[in-house]
Symmetry: C2
Subunit: 201 residues, 2 copies
């Protein structure tokens, strides 16, 4: 769900871009909240540091993903945000966002609806992670991401990216796809997968 689709143009116009070197902090726990962010390039990790000084990872945001939406409703950040690689982020100032929501009820509702959809998607992804078997996990993904015809799945990124999204090593994913293709269950094309026939459990 691209930011474009749910954030008013007025707010987007007020955005500030910021470049981060790998290891540089976007914000730290306790900092006054500036707004929420969209990662344009690179990776930014949200972390907390435990008593022993170890970093505990909460979330890793990649290109196109947003972070710190909850900061809109909090005076201070609740974790650290550190660039895991050189990164480019776009900051949507809290004041501009809240002002827009105050003025335009539709905009506020679009934001809420986006969050509700995101909750739904995240729950589904967790459900997917409950599936142990690589084959079943891939089938789950294929069933949920089939296009209009119910048989064709368009792949956006690389298979490596998909492996990460599925929580598998890329080797395991390659092997599983190869198996499914050998057994005649799927057919692979450039950037897409076609489901030919369904399994017998």
């Amino acid at each position: 769900m691209p930011v474009k689709d749910w954030l008013p143009a007025a707010v987007r116009a007020a955005a500030i871009d910021r470049k981060l070197k790998s290891g540089e902090a976007l914000f730290r726990l306790g900092d006054k909240t500036a707004g929420f962010c969209e990662v344009l390039a690179g990776r930014v990790r949200l972390t907390r540091v435990d008593r022993a000084g170890h970093e505990v990872i909460l979330y890793v945001a990649g290109p196109g993903e947003t972070l710190a939406e909850a900061s809109l409703f909090s005076p201070a950040y609740h974790c650290d945000a550190i660039a895991s690689s050189d990164a480019l982020v776009r900051i949507y100032p809290k004041s501009a966002v809240l002002a827009a929501f105050e003025k335009d009820r539709k905009a506020a509702q679009a934001f809420t609806a986006m969050l509700a959809r995101q909750v739904m998607n995240l729950r589904t992804r967790i459900e997917q992670r409950n599936i142990r078997s690589a084959r079943e996990r891939v089938r789950h993904f294929l069933a949920l991401n089939a296009g209009a015809d119910g048989r064709t799945i368009e792949l956006d990124g690389t298979l490596k990216d998909l492996a990460a999204e599925l929580g598998l090593t890329h080797e395991a994913l390659y092997r599983t796809l190869a198996e499914l293709e050998r057994s005649g269950e799927i057919k692979r094309g450039r950037g897409k997968i076609t489901v030919l026939r369904k399994r017998k459990i």
Copy 2:
């Protein structure tokens, strides 16, 4: 995050309780949306059915959890909701909820803030599932759920429940906790765990 904390009393007063037999549908894909639900007892699963007629599970909601928040912004449900056991659900009528949000800006904001926090929590849980090792996953949980002293973790349910939340079999969790205790890293008490010393990864 109990419903009580973010839903106005006026809306809660308009709620309708409904009993479901195991296997009974709360709603079906395409049904006109009635509102969002809270599961009071039992389990309700959200599913879709793929081309081959197989049920694909999106989410399983247990007691205290809510579902179909996104239905507030959609004219029809996008999946099926089926009771996996005898269940009791509370339905918050869409009209009452939206009316309350329309009238009371604070209520709408509380709802949005709750969703933003939930997104945060779900992302963290997914991050946890990315950890393969049972030991590291348990450590991650302990680090994130430590109380004010940073060393004591209160356990709400049984260890079996915790195992399910962590995505481990209960045997694996028992063994891991036993190992951690043997090695002196943690100490277990009735319904709580105390972290004694940390380990270097």
